[in-house]
């Protein structure tokens, strides 16, 4: 004791003696991991790529063997002719994979057309020469056809947007209020209610299509927009209640309590404090609900016919009429992907945090 007091404490250690603890092998492992991930991602994207290029092929190019893979711009005649020549001789070279992109697929998908008679064709050609023919008509004319009007598919795409859009908003809004109530209040039989809500997802939805079909016919909901919105909302609600409850549970109650003593009502506190902090969860839930409602196939096939039919069951019907329109199908599918991609992209900042299901905050 005495000696300690005389000498005082030894010089404190002020510099870190820690060494870089990354093993030499760790860097290699990380590189290998990255390569594997990229390879898997590329593999997964092959069908999307195939669909993407098919959507822009002409009828001939779609079925050409070997497959044409590389689009070359319009007017690059030399290359295309070279490709054709190679194909004839059977010589292998990169050039035989060239094709000229065209909007034929989209035109076939979105319009009703008829074979143009010689007189009509001449008239259209004249208009084209004057540069007054719209893009779609020009494309149709190249195939010897004239456009009569929009196809049924346009209406069905509209149905899809209306039904998926409204049902997504409805299930997220209703789910948010329900989740908040479940998270914050003492509700009699809360656990049973939550289990009941979850149990609606415990069997494959397809199982109930026949009973639903009968019910909908009796109730007059068959082939109505309202019927489909109701159905998708109910199906998504169980999902959104559970998902959002998890997110709201993660928001400490103190924030609302602070707002309450600061002079706000419960509803004001909800909108001004809880809602902004639940945005991550809301974004994630929105995307998941939208994907379900947008892609749903079985119910739409069974419960709609003309008025409220959505896009997913319409695309395969194009297989039937006058040969298989591969380009139109690919164009339909590609166009169908775009809204979901846009929404997901727009919400990506929230999703990055959101897909961890609220495990990470701030």
């Amino acid at each position: 004791m005495a000696t300690f007091q005389e000498t005082g404490p030894r010089t404190p250690v002020t510099t870190s003696i820690r060494v870089d603890k990354v093993r030499p092998g760790a860097r290699l492992t990380r590189t290998i991991r990255a390569i594997v991930v990229v390879a898997l991602a590329l593999g997964g994207l092959i069908p999307v790529f195939a669909m993407g290029i098919t959507a822009f092929k002409s009828r001939n190019a779609v079925v050409s063997v070997p497959p044409s893979l590389i689009p070359v711009p319009d007017g690059d005649r030399l290359r295309l002719e070279a490709a054709e020549a190679r194909r004839q001789t059977g010589e292998t070279s990169l050039a035989q994979h060239f094709f000229q992109p065209t909007l034929e697929g989209f035109v076939f998908l979105l319009t009703e057309r008829a074979q143009a008679g010689p007189a009509r064709a001449a008239q259209l050609a004249e208009l084209r020469a004057e540069g007054e023919l719209p893009l779609f008509d020009r494309v149709a004319l190249n195939a010897g056809q004239e456009i009569l009007g929009p196809s049924q598919y346009v209406g069905r795409l509209k149905n899809s947007i209306i039904i998926a859009g409204i049902s997504t908003v409805a299930s997220v809004v209703l789910g948010l209020f329900a989740a908040y109530a479940f998270s914050r209040f003492d509700i009699p039989g809360k656990d049973d209610l939550l289990f009941f809500i979850l149990s609606t997802r415990m069997l494959p939805p397809v199982v109930v299509t026949i009973p639903l079909f009968l019910m909908y016919r009796t109730l007059g909901l068959h082939d109505t927009h309202f019927g489909m919105i109701l159905l998708y909302t109910v199906f998504n609600l169980s999902f959104s209640v559970w998902l959002l409850k998890g997110f709201i549970d993660e928001i400490p109650r103190e924030y609302e309590e602070a707002a309450l003593v600061d002079g706000y009502s419960r509803l004001q506190a909800f909108f001004r404090i809880v809602l902004p902090q639940a945005l991550t969860g809301i974004a994630a839930t929105t995307v998941f609900c939208l994907i379900f409602a947008w892609n749903e196939y079985a119910f739409a096939l069974m419960l709609t016919s003309e008025v409220a039919r959505t896009a997913p069951p319409s695309i395969p019907t194009m297989l039937g009429r006058g040969g298989i329109e591969w380009a139109a199908i690919a164009a339909g599918t590609l166009g169908f992907l775009i809204p979901v991609v846009i929404v997901t992209f727009a919400l990506r900042n929230y999703l990055l945090r959101g897909v961890t299901f609220g495990a990470i905050r701030q």
Partner: protein
């Protein structure tokens, strides 16, 4: 500013009695600390005053107004939470003005009040940051600013220093106390830290087992604890409590021939309490027991704690009766050696071993 009055306020969660019916009056401008171990009902009491928790029974008056069933937003109180509860999506400025917007104050008033509290708490430089970026102390200041800006009838604080580093806690303690002196605002402050309670409170309400054990000034709860719980809970270490037998002006304490002569002013009270012959518990603070070679009581040194200015000896009077005794820092006491000590006659207290209540010198009406 306002008085706060609790009348027979109680809280039950199902079968669990969180707060037994209690009466408490907090005067205008007073700084009252609710002190107790965790789970004693102090936070629940505070939340009932704020309205965040409904009462199971009883009524609450704020400035003479019955607020028992009013919504928190209608009570005109400010609450400082342990984890500050600053709204993370708003800037410091928006956080502080948030309660003023609820009151529908004009932009002019909001700016003026904001400038006042910001100057008072010296947080001008962080007005446009978000709470997530701030240090603990700055968050604490912003939380206080948000409470102060309203000029509420009362401040309720739930362990506001609990989330801070030890070194910071002390300076924030002084800062809060200073603010209270400036504003002279009725404040109810919850803590489990008895040092904090002693340092800050005008009065301390000691709670345990869902009920109030004692209400008094820091000096009262320290020197005259109402019962054994308060005696042990206040002070670090707490009061020494030694079982003994009172007979004829002496208490027979554990150990060899440890007969303690009771100070004369206590004799009538002990005669009354024990009937002249009965068990008592002798209580004394470590600083009331001073080691001295001619000491009246004897024990063996069990351990020594050096506190710098003084040394605390753990003295074993008998098998398990270890008491804390203070000695000066120059003398060393090897472990196991016998040590004699005296009790300061003004600082000795006696407790009833059956009820645990303090025996009073004066007759309680």
């Amino acid at each position: 500013m306002a008085t706060i009055e609790l009348r027979q306020v109680e809280k039950r969660f199902g079968n669990h009695q969180a707060v037994k019916p209690l009466d408490l009056t907090i005067n205008d401008g007073e700084f009252v600390v609710l002190l107790g171990p965790s789970g004693c009902g102090k936070t629940t009491t505070l939340r009932m005053i704020s309205g965040l928790e409904t009462v199971t029974g009883g009524s609450i008056y704020l400035g003479g107004r019955n607020v028992t069933w009013l919504h928190p937003s209608e009570r005109d109180i400010a609450f400082v939470f342990q984890l500050f509860a600053l709204y993370p999506h708003l800037t410091v400025r928006q956080n502080i003005t948030f309660p003023l917007q609820a009151q529908g104050e004009s932009q002019e008033t909001i700016e003026r009040r904001l400038a006042e509290v910001v100057r008072l708490l010296r947080i001008e430089h962080i007005l446009d940051s978000r709470p997530g970026k701030l240090s603990g102390g700055d968050r604490q200041r912003v939380a206080l600013a948000r409470a102060l800006v309203r000029r509420p009838a009362a401040f309720l604080m739930d362990e506001p220093l609990g989330a801070l580093d030890a070194e910071f806690r002390e300076s924030m303690r002084a800062e809060i106390k200073q603010l209270h002196i400036d504003q002279n605002a009725t404040t109810v402050y919850v803590t489990h830290d008895q040092v904090e309670a002693m340092a800050m409170g005008d009065r301390i309400v000691v709670m345990s087992n869902a009920e109030i054990q004692q209400v008094g000034t820091p000096a009262e709860v320290y020197h005259d604890p109402a019962n054994l719980f308060v005696a042990q809970f206040i002070g670090s270490p707490g009061m020494n409590l030694v079982k003994g037998h009172y007979i004829g002006g002496q208490v027979i304490m554990p150990g060899d021939n440890n007969r303690y002569n009771v100070p004369t002013d206590w004799v009538p009270a002990l005669n009354r309490a024990t009937g002249g012959d009965g068990d008592v518990i002798v209580g004394f603070r470590p600083e009331a027991a001073v080691a001295a070679s001619d000491g009246e009581l004897l024990g063996q040194v069990y351990a020594t704690d050096m506190h710098g200015a003084y040394t605390v000896l753990h003295v074993n009077m008998n098998h398990d009766d270890i008491v804390h005794v203070r000695s000066n820092r120059r003398t060393t006491y090897p472990i196991g050696t016998p040590v004699r000590f005296n009790l300061n006659p003004q600082m000795v207290r006696f407790f009833d071993p059956v009820t645990g209540q303090a025996i009073r010198r004066e007759v309680v009406q």
